[in-house]
Structures are given as structure tokens and as C-alpha cells.
């Protein structure tokens, strides 16, 4: 069964450093999302991406964040200058779109900012 994959599973970085989190969505999906989950809290939407552009972003997704689909398979989230409060699990999700609306989540990347 096709699934969303994410790398790395755990990323440790120093405050102020740039990180890139990578995702490979399900191959025939057209809609891509990033969510984050601070330890013990609910899952929060960051950004959605369709047709090579951002469809919607939350107030969390400020100028420090960017997304890119550099090729036909990868979808990346970049945090330019990490802060302590960026420490969280980051989940990538994808959806086929149109009448098929289910979003499927990857296993997540645990980001720890020291």
C-alpha cells in the first residue's frame, strides 16, 4: 500500500540554524500539506500546496518557513532560522484531491532545537 515517507525521522539542530525536512508524498496525489504537533498537543496546520504554489498558510507559517517541490516526488519544508519553539513533530500529508479528499500522513520528523 502506498504511503507518505519522511526523512529524517529525527533532526537535532542549534537555534538559528536552517533545517530542511523532506517528504515523499503518495505518487498520484496532487495536494500536499505540512502540519506540526508540539509534544502532547493537537496537530496544527502549517501550509497546503497545490499546483506548485501555496494554497493556504496558517499564522504559524511566517517568513522563516518555506515549502518547495523541487522535483516530481519530493516536498520539502525549510525553516530558515530555527527557534526553540520550533521543536515539534512535523508531519507531511498528501491527498489525491478532487472527489477523493482523504489526507494521508507520514510518520513525522521530530525536530529538536537546542
Amino acid at each position: 500500500e502506498p504511503e507518505v515517507t519522511q526523512t529524517p525521522s529525527h533532526q537535532v539542530t542549534q537555534m538559528g540554524q536552517e533545517v530542511i525536512l523532506r517528504c515523499v508524498p503518495i505518487s498520484n496525489h496532487l495536494y500536499f500539506y505540512w502540519y506540526r504537533q508540539i509534544l502532547g498537543q493537537k496537530v496544527e496546520f502549517l501550509v497546503s500546496f497545490y499546483n506548485n504554489e501555496i494554497s493556504e498558510k496558517s499564522e504559524i507559517f511566517d517568513d522563516q518557513f518555506s515549502v518547495e517541490r523541487p522535483d516530481g516526488s519530493n516536498f520539502t519544508l525549510k525553516i530558515r532560522s530555527t527557534k526553540l519553539e520550533d521543536s515539534a513533530m512535523y508531519f507531511c500529508a498528501s491527498s489525491r484531491g478532487s472527489v477523493v479528499v482523504e489526507q494521508f500522513f507520514g510518520p513525522g520528523t521530530r525536530l529538536t532545537v537546542l
Partner: protein, 115 residues
């Protein structure tokens, strides 16, 4: 208006019992209501979902009940098993012409099934 409220925060049910988790939403534009199951260290896994044109959907031991007028929906797990012990999140979104929009999640329910 975008909130989804979920209760209870935690739930302990005996094996074989019925687990019930409730959610309420405010935004009447929401028209897609999935439930996700999450095990520690894993991503949320889609369990079951409902659209507001039906009041109930059943898949195996899992049933969603939906009350459009009350803006509430609930997950029932029949014959609960220890393997069902996980955190459950309800969510809601709006389906546009181009696919569904962001999911707004509830705060989660930690379910523990005891033997």
C-alpha cells in the same frame, strides 16, 4: 469559529466495552469529518470519515455518529481491544472544488483499554 472541541481528554474502557469520544464544531462550512488514530511516535492514521449527508457511518467496530443540527459528531468503538489503546483525534475541513482544505484537529483523546 475554526475550533473543534473534543472530549474526554482521556478515557479508560474495559476490554470488550464501548469507547465513545465526542467532538463539536462551530464552523458550519465544514463538510468533512475524519477521525485519526495515533500511536506514540507515529503519524496520525486515518480511521474513518463522514460527510454531513449521512447521520452514521460504520466500518467494522468503528462507527461515526453525526448530528448536523447540533454540530456534533462522535466515534464509537465497539468491543474495544487493548490494541485500540492510542490517541484519537477528530478533525474537520471544508471540501472545495479543488480538493479538501486544511484539517482542523480536536485536542485528542488518550484511550486506554484495560484487560
Amino acid at each position: 469559529q475554526q475550533q473543534v472541541k473534543q472530549s474526554p481528554q482521556s478515557l479508560i474502557v474495559q476490554k470488550g466495552g464501548i469507547s465513545i469520544i465526542n467532538c463539536a464544531y462551530e464552523n458550519t462550512a465544514f463538510d468533512y469529518f475524519p477521525w485519526y488514530q495515533q500511536f506514540p511516535g507515529k503519524g496520525p492514521a486515518l480511521l474513518i470519515a463522514i460527510r454531513p449527508d449521512v447521520s452514521e457511518k460504520k466500518e467494522g467496530r468503528f462507527t461515526i455518529s453525526f448530528n448536523k443540527s447540533a454540530k456534533q459528531f462522535s466515534l464509537h468503538i465497539m468491543d474495544s481491544q487493548p490494541g485500540d489503546s492510542a490517541t484519537y483525534f477528530c478533525a474537520a475541513s471544508r471540501v472545495s472544488n479543488f480538493g479538501n482544505e486544511k484539517l482542523t484537529f480536536g485536542t485528542g483523546t488518550r484511550l486506554t483499554i484495560i484487560p
